[in-house]
Symmetry: C2
Subunit: 232 residues, 2 copies
Amino acid sequence: MSSIGRIPEASVARLPLYLRGLDAFPVGVTATVSSEELATLAGVNAAKVRKDLSYLGTYGTRGVGYDADFLRFEISRALGVANTWPIVVCGMGNLGRALANHSGFSERGFPVVAAIDTDPDKVGVEIDGIPVYAPSALASVVTEHEIAVGIIATPPEAAQGAADRLVDAGVVSIMSFAPIVLTVPNGVDLRAVDLATELQILGFHLHRDRLANGAHATAGREQNLSVGQGPV
Amino acid sequence: MSSIGRIPEASVARLPLYLRGLDAFPVGVTATVSSEELATLAGVNAAKVRKDLSYLGTYGTRGVGYDADFLRFEISRALGVANTWPIVVCGMGNLGRALANHSGFSERGFPVVAAIDTDPDKVGVEIDGIPVYAPSALASVVTEHEIAVGIIATPPEAAQGAADRLVDAGVVSIMSFAPIVLTVPNGVDLRAVDLATELQILGFHLHRDRLANGAHATAGREQNLSVGQGPV
DNA sequence: TTTTCCTTGTGAACGCGTGCACAAGTTCCG
DNA sequence: CGGAACTTGTGCACGCGTTCACAAGGAAAA
C-alpha cells in the first residue's frame, strides 16, 4: 500500500477537479494525458497539476505523460471514491428536494438514501423515490444505512438542531447550506456553502467596477474561478 | 468619500459573513460589538475581523468596540449592498427552480427577475412567480431589467452555451453550478460551485480517517469551515 | 488630573501555496 | 548509437494570508 504523506488541503480540493477532467477519457482504454491537457480540463495550470499529483505518488512517465485510466484509478483511490457514501438530506424544502434529486451526487458515489423533514405531510411518503422520515427516526436511519455524510438544507433556525442530531446519530461529515455559523464537536467535518454570500462576493466586484469605470465593465478582473474553501 | 485601498480577496470573501453576523443586532439601534463577538458570530477569529475591517477604514473605537449599526452600514456600502442586482437563472430544472425560489437571494439584494429554459412547455409561463423565457429572449430580458448577474443551473452540456449567451447579452458576473470548466472573456467574473466536488472533499477526509483509525472517527480534523473560493 | 482598564489598529514574523525553471528520464528519429 | 524533442518531478523563491503581540487611544473611576 502506498503510504501517502500529508497532502495539502489546497491540493485535496483540486483532486476532484482532475477526476472530473478525466471524464473526457473513456474508462478501460489506454490513453495518455499530459499535465498541460489535464490542466486545461480542470481549469488550473500545469505546474499545479504536476505538483498535486506528485503528492499522491509518481504516476507519470517523463517525456510521455500520465496514463489517463491509471491516473483516474489512483486519484479515485486517494479520494476514497471506491467507497460509496450514502447520504441523508435534512430539510426537504425547495433546495433539499433539488439536492436529493441531484444526479451528480449518486454519479459520484454519494447516493441520497433518506431525507428528514418536520412536516407531517411529508413524513412517511417518498419524494422522488427518496423516503422521508421524521427527525426522531434519524438515528435509526443512519445506523441502518451506515450513513456518514449529512446535508443540511433546513431553514436557518433549524440548522443547528439538525447538525446536533446528525452528530448524535453518528454522522461525521456535514455539508450545510444554512446561512449561519454551525458549531460541531471536534472530529466532525463541516463544510458550509452560503449561496447568498457567494453572490455578495460577485456583487462586490460588480460594485467596484461600476465605481471605477463609468458604467461599462471593460477593465477586467480574473476570468476563471474554481470551487474551494479554506479551513478556519 | 472614503477611498478604500486594495482589499485582499480573502477579506472580501469574509465581509458578507460579518454582515450576516450583524443580523443579530437590530437595525437602527445603537449597540456595541467587539471584534471578539463579531468573530464568534461570523465563525472566524478576532484578529482577522480587525484586520479585515481595517481595510475598509477606521470604524471602531479603541477600548470600546464597533457600533453595530454603523458597521453594518459601512460593510454594506463596501459590498455595494445598497444596490439591488437583479439576476437571471438559466435552466429551470430541479436546482434552477430551487435557486429561483431561494428567499436568501432577494433578501440580500439579488432578486431573481427572470429565468431561461429550452423546454417549450416551460417557456412563456411563470414558475413560482418568475417568468420563463426562451434562450433567444435572453438579450432583451437582460437589457430590459438591467441584469448584471446570471446563474447557470443547466445540464453540463448546455452550460458553456448559456455562459456565452449571458456574456453576449451583457452579463458580467456569473455563478455556475455546472460541473465543468467554463471559459469566459476577460472582465467577466465567474464563480463556480460544484456540489459533487464539495462532497468528494468531505469524502477524502472520511476515507483518510477510516484508514487511520479502525472504524470510528474520533481522531479529528478541524471543526468549522466557512465558504470561500480562491482565484485561479 | 491621574490611573486603570479595555479594545482597536497594525507592524512584523511565520507558514502555506503558487509558479518558475531546470535536471532527470523517456521516446523517436536519423 | 547519438542526438533531438518532449514531459515529468521538484528545489527554490516569491507573495499572500494569517496570527501574534503590542503600541496607541479612549472611557471611566479614583
